[in-house]
């Protein structure tokens, strides 16, 4: 089976419309030709298709409340048993916990003002920001997932010639900033350390399994421009991630900890670049 691709598919842009599910699949935007969720409970979900629609779904455009999978009678479509947080539902929870985006495709038969008139439209990346269960109308548990548009909008200012001088700068246009992260790396670093923090060895858990954070040593983005590579990542618990980002501790040349006792736990298959550790030390400690 082909590797699961998280994030945008090369050469496919937001707004591209595909005639049918076969075309969607051929273009790798959404691989399965029947299932609405593409994903596994081990890896997470890489794409979903909104079509038909559950009554609990709410589509607000940039925010989607998505109803989980399972527990329905195939013929009547009525909820006949509890949904559980496993399989495709757990896949979406895994996205939430790992910051993995999901591609969203809206079908023409999706009941929403945001649906295309025709075919299936690729609507870009969404983050799964939360999930919870409710008692559905028939009295059974139903899981809901809150999806939010992943890419931040950058506002640009435009001068309106007929404005009074002191109001000349007003907000008018919006462009999008694409986030290009290698999501497989965040999975890889947690795999190497089996979700244990490299500082305190803690392994925390949630209702979706074990949880850890992939922390960049030299931050991504302007003005730091650290690379998105394994030698610039650490596997940390949330506590040590906060402390690291805000200079509560740093890492010395020999990987012993500064302002904390002990030494960073480093596995042989994880080579850390000392240049990035130095950058962190020089820029984030007092």
């Amino acid at each position: 089976m082909a590797e699961r691709i998280f994030g945008h598919i090369p050469n496919i842009i937001e707004g591209d419309v595909f005639e049918n599910r076969i075309e969607l699949s051929h273009n790798k935007v959404h691989r399965p030709t029947q299932a609405g969720i593409s994903g596994s409970q081990k890896e997470g979900a890489d794409s979903i298709v909104l079509s038909g629609g559950y009554e609990d779904d709410q589509d607000l455009g940039d925010i989607i409340i998505y109803t989980g999978h399972g527990g329905r009678d195939l013929n009547t479509k009525k909820q006949v048993t509890h949904q559980i947080l496993s399989d495709k539902n757990l896949a979406l929870a895994i996205n939430c916990q790992n910051g993995l985006p999901v591609r969203v495709i809206r079908g023409a038969n999706h009941k929403s003002i945001f649906s295309p008139e025709f075919g299936y439209r690729y609507d870009g990346l969404y983050n799964v920001v939360n999930y919870w269960k409710i008692k559905g109308k028939a009295g059974y548990d139903v899981w809901l997932f809150r999806l939010e548009k992943a890419e931040t909008s950058i506002h640009k200012f435009e001068v309106k010639e007929d404005s009074p001088n002191y109001l000349k700068a007003t907000r008018t246009t919006t462009t999008q900033q694409r986030i290009d992260r290698d999501y497989n790396l965040t999975i890889r670093i947690k795999e190497i350390y089996d979700f244990r923090c490299q500082v305190c060895n803690t392994k925390i858990f949630t209702n979706a399994g074990f949880y850890a954070e992939a922390a960049h040593i030299k931050p991504l983005g302007e003005p730091h421009n650290g690379p998105d590579t394994l030698d610039n990542l650490l596997c940390l618990c949330p506590n040590h991630h906060v402390m690291f980002d805000y200079g509560g501790f740093a890492i010395d040349e020999d990987f012993s900890l500064i302002d904390l006792d002990g030494k960073l736990n480093i596995k042989p298959e994880h080579e850390i670049n000392r240049e990035f550790v130095r950058y962190h030390r020089e820029h984030f400690t007092i």
Copy 2:
């Protein structure tokens, strides 16, 4: 002295222009009539005025790289010693760690294409998302703060009549969603517990002092609509905050922990509403 107000000032809206610093002060948008930063290292910073401008400042509109305070010769304006993370600089770091927004005002003499032509314009709330130090041109430490527009933009879709049917929904207008949180409560809950986690008693630290998180028991916002009140807040370390939000543990009627050993630590001055604890238990555990 009047209480420091974080967030918007009632009846003042983004884009309001004030003639001078006295007017800004009278309207409580920015209290000090001389200083660029209004704040203290204990409470954080409630507002900043961008005017004149340091050479290291970068104003990108919704993102501002703001140069810290201190170490300059008053006459030559040249950096003559290190800036340190204390006083007004520490105030901005405290904002970062506590999620406190800062009001940003741009003055006409601020060197930026986003400056007003006249007076001082209130440009809304920004979050301090990160801070770090660099070696300035003269070889001395300078602290930089990354500010980002705090309020999320919600895109609305508008139908363009001349579009082909399947492309009718295109993004054209942008509106703003105001976040109305009581920032004083997040400070208060941490004060009550002296930054110790109510689950594990841990007190973590960063380069800006002790750190804890104010966690809502019943989440704010749609569809949960939990209230922003002290009886719906917990003081947690980041680890237990993640675990709580994603159902790794819950809290029973008698405040003993479910799926973790022990009991929630609760101070007499902090009354927790059992209704919210029940809501969390019913919606976030498997």
